[in-house]
Symmetry: C2
Subunit: 117 residues, 2 copies
């Protein structure tokens, strides 16, 4: 059984910055070069390069070569992993009977304090 924790760390962390999410949004529509990704962002090109490295580390993007361009493309798997993880938690959360849970927790806490009610 594989441990996905480190991958999820990198994926969620990468998505936790607006510039990087903007790049993902752009790339979901198709390949783009560094310059194209940088154009709408208010930051220097080296800053963009750093963000791309973070996305690459999370395997959210892959890169190719075309002359002096290094086009980026979105990879589907990491987004799916992240989405799956969240949905797993939501399923557990949703299937839980909140009122009953709260009631049982209260009972449990009270019994520890000395069984009253």
């Amino acid at each position: 059984m594989v441990n996905y924790e480190a991958e999820l760390d990198a994926i969620f962390m990468a998505l936790g910055h607006p510039a990087r999410r903007a790049m993902v949004v752009r790339l979901s529509k198709g390949e783009a070069t560094v310059g194209e990704l940088a154009q709408p962002l208010e930051m220097s090109l080296p800053a963009v390069t750093k963000h791309l490295k973070v996305l690459e580390r999370a395997k959210l993007i892959s890169r190719s070569k075309n002359a002096q361009w290094r086009p980026c493309r979105l990879e589907q798997a990491p987004l799916k992993s992240a989405s799956d993880w969240i949905e797993d938690q939501r399923k557990v959360w949703e299937s839980r009977l909140d009122r009953l849970d709260s009631y049982l927790h209260t009972l449990h806490t009270n019994s520890k304090k000395g069984a009253k009610k």
Copy 2:
């Protein structure tokens, strides 16, 4: 029209740490106190308190009071926002015709190399 960017920053960033995801997993099954959340984690209680603040900042959890305990409960909305954002991108990505897109991009790049802009 509201700008969700800052909220998503906080949510994804919060999910980008294994200890905090472990807390979310635990809380998806029901309320827990700080001590209960800390128990399986190999870190000090103050460290746990800090992680809880990050989760609170992202509104992923809310807290109540019960004597000297401060039980935490998972909130559904942020997880849904994050999941929705990812699924939006995946939908765009999936509906795209990858081969055609690459082809058009190549054409575009080549035309730029010939006729400057």
